[in-house]
């Protein structure tokens, strides 16, 4: 009988709260465990990735012929609007928050996030955002048709005249997603500042943690500006104010300023954690320390700073005065310095290394290559003369898809494969992973590369029909689009089957260096038996120095 309290204690250790489910059901509960929340984020957002991908394939299906003959034009407008909105607000943001949720506390040696209940509340807003966004298909007039940036006066039109219309639902969804993101950002920044393990100084943090910090700071100063613009837009639609109504003295360009003040830095909110993923993965599979660790870490914060002063490059063609164009051209170009630092550091990291081309490494390498290409077209678009020429063409679409798909989605896939053994305790199937990689790589190139020439030829974006001279490139792009849709199938098969019956993974299958690899796979609730005492910098590959001084005490059964 004396054993009973002891058993109750160990029972508590395995659960975030007494009586919490410990099987698959925990992913459907209001769990406060950051690892459960992380997986909840990743899986939920992947479902919306499929939804957004379906919209993309409808768009590509329409564009495979020059005539508008697949869907109604109203629905086509709704498709590109919802494709962008779903992919950003319901896939890219939440999936990266999910990865950060899972990894940051493990990487800094914390038992959980600083505010676990806030964390869970922030996650459970994501399904609400999704339901609101999807419900706009069932209101009179259908979903918003003004594109994901919802520029007035298009977004103010409200042809059905009803109060509950697609645009209002869209604004509500974006507002709730904003609240969720701010809650997450407060949590991440507090966690990284306050919950680092003993000895874990800023310059012993893995670069992924640095990039998450840099990205979440952007959320904190950027999102409120979008919220302000969204509140004014909502008032314009619902109460008849004239903030952005030109016919009654309003200024629609001001909305663009509010919107891009957040939405350009938002690209770095997505890209920075992916840069962190590259910085984590390349050293592991090249067996070399990350080149220039400190500079790479600090360059993330430089990107954060610069991201706040580049937004007008989206508005070169919005009647922006010449001096402003010059100023923002200069700041935009200077972004290439900190990103260039990272590229060169990654190249130097893998240079002369003993590369092991497993699926995560393939995705990471391909992601870096795509990012270099996106960076080159980014420099082109950042310069005023080129941008005026290709403004609103498929060249822009090609550029940012190379960023959001070629770089960010590749980085996300790399991260999911790399940390899959840690998250589930099982190995994925390498063969299926390679099939997935090659399908994705070919699909991405086939889909997004043709957008560049066709954009330079002058094909405008967001059209359902186009001149037949653009048909060749569009057929290629559409085939690539369907290939990308196909590429998710081996991924889903791989994830589901290996989670159920994959080979058991050891605590460190990649022989990687990092706090998360020192404990069991999957880690227990509260992660560490005893908080680690960190004694050396990360990425000590080939250096033969211990990462922590109390290795034996970290978990109950160290291997």
């Amino acid at each position: 009988m004396a054993n009973i309290p002891v058993e109750a204690l160990s029972g508590n250790r395995a659960q975030p709260y007494p009586g919490a489910p410990d099987n698959w059901k925990r992913f459907f509960s209001f769990s406060t465990d950051h690892k459960v929340i992380g997986i909840q984020y990743i899986v939920t957002s992947f479902v919306f990735f499929l939804v957004g991908g379906l919209f993309a394939m409808i768009i590509r299906g329409e564009l495979i012929t020059p005539e508008a003959n697949l869907v109604d034009r109203t629905l086509y407008n709704a498709m590109f609007t919802m494709h962008g909105s779903v992919m950003l607000f319901l896939w890219s943001f939440p999936v990266l928050v999910g990865l950060a949720n899972y990894l940051v506390p493990l990487m800094i040696g914390a038992r959980d996030m600083a505010f676990p209940r806030l964390n869970a509340a922030a996650f459970w807003m994501v399904p609400v955002v999704g339901i609101l966004m999807m419900s706009s298909f069932f209101v009179p007039g259908g979903p918003s048709q003004s594109g994901w940036w919802a520029y007035p006066p298009v977004s103010l039109q409200n042809p059905t005249g009803t109060l509950i219309n697609g645009q209002v639902l869209w604004l509500l969804a974006v507002a709730i997603s904003g609240v969720s993101s701010i809650m997450g950002a407060v949590n991440f920044v507090s966690t990284i500042f306050k919950l680092r393990a003993p000895g874990m100084t800023f310059f012993k943090m893995p670069v992924f943690v640095w990039t998450v910090l840099a990205a979440q700071i952007i959320q904190l100063f950027g999102l409120p500006a979008l919220t302000a613009g969204a509140v004014m837009l909502l008032l314009d639609i619902t109460t008849g104010t004239s903030f952005f109504r030109p016919e009654s003295g309003g200024n629609p360009v001001l909305y663009q300023h509010f919107f891009w003040f957040y939405s350009h830095p938002a690209v770095y909110v997505l890209a920075l954690p992916v840069f962190g993923v590259f910085s984590e993965i390349l050293p592991v599979y090249a067996r070399k320390p990350l080149f220039g660790y400190r500079v790479v870490a600090v360059s993330s914060l430089i990107i954060t700073g610069l991201s706040a002063i580049v937004w007008v490059h989206h508005m070169y063609a919005s009647g922006t005065p010449g001096w402003m164009r010059m100023l923002f051209m200069f700041t935009t170009m200077s972004i290439s310095v900190p990103t260039g630092i990272k590229i060169f550091a990654w190249t130097a990291t893998i240079f002369g290394g003993k590369l092991r081309l497993d699926t995560p490494m393939l995705f990471a390498l391909a992601g870096v290559v795509n990012f270099v290409f996106a960076g080159i077209t980014g420099i082109m678009l950042g310069s005023v003369p080129v941008d005026i020429h290709v403004n609103n063409t498929y060249f822009v679409v090609g550029h940012f898809h190379y960023v959001v798909y070629g770089t960010i989605v590749f980085g996300i896939y790399a991260a999911i494969y790399h940390w899959f053994p840690k998250m589930t305790g099982r190995m994925y199937y390498e063969g299926l992973g390679k099939v997935h990689f090659w399908l994705t790589w070919i699909g991405t190139t086939l889909n997004f590369l043709p957008m560049h020439p066709v954009g330079l030829m002058g094909m405008p974006r967001r059209v359902a029909s186009y001149d037949p001279e653009f048909a060749f490139w569009n057929v290629l792009a559409s085939l690539g689009g369907f290939l990308l849709g196909l590429s998710t199938l081996p991924f889903i098969l791989n994830m589901v089957s290996s989670w159920i019956q994959g080979e058991q993974a050891s605590h460190n299958p990649w022989r990687a260096i990092g706090l998360e690899w020192l404990i069991a796979s999957p880690p227990p609730v509260e992660n560490f038996e005893q908080l680690p005492i960190v004694v050396s910098e990360p990425y000590g590959y080939g250096k033969d120095e211990p990462l922590v001084s109390n290795l034996a005490e970290l978990s109950e059964s160290p291997e």
């Binding site: 600083a114 505010f115 507090s190 100063f221 302000a228 003295g249 309003g250 200024n251």
Partner: protein, 200 residues
Amino acid sequence: MTSESAIANQVESKIVEEHNEEANSKFGFWVFLLSESVIFLSFFAGYIVYKTTSTDWLPAGVEGLDTHDPAINTVVLISSSFVIYVAERFLHDKKLWGFRFFLLATMLMGSYFLYGQAVEWQGLEFGLTSGLYGATFYLLTGFHGLHVMTGVLLQTIMFLRSFIPGNYDKSSFGIIATSLFWHFVDVIWIILYGLIYVWQ
């Protein structure tokens, strides 16, 4: 070795810190307030752009805003920031009745501000849809008013919770946050008053 003892010291201090959830919450609340202030900064920026570029700023028949009553309102709101500070000190010294008295006083002053704002709104001859002037005025004062209302609500909750025995023994983060929020609302009002009432 000195480095080892330094690490050992750090461990000791960290263990204390690990239990110091109040410090973490305070840090988090500061981060939140900094972020919240950017919404107001955006509205202020919008106001300045509208005011300086709009061709017909004042609606027809509107002379401007009366500054007398809002000035009284301002004084009441600013002084309530000192009153809530006194309440905080009383709680710090574990004198609950003094805390309750001064917190109640803050709530009354905040409510007076809201009342004064409502009276002012009622007497104005322009509405939300009276051009950019009306829209920005009601947006700024209304959004700030919502924050004052939230502040009074938080104070009410803190007031009621003071009757739960031992509620503030372990942590007084609730009242620290409420008070910080109230100072924040005050600072925003000072800028807002300068932009809307002084700069006419």
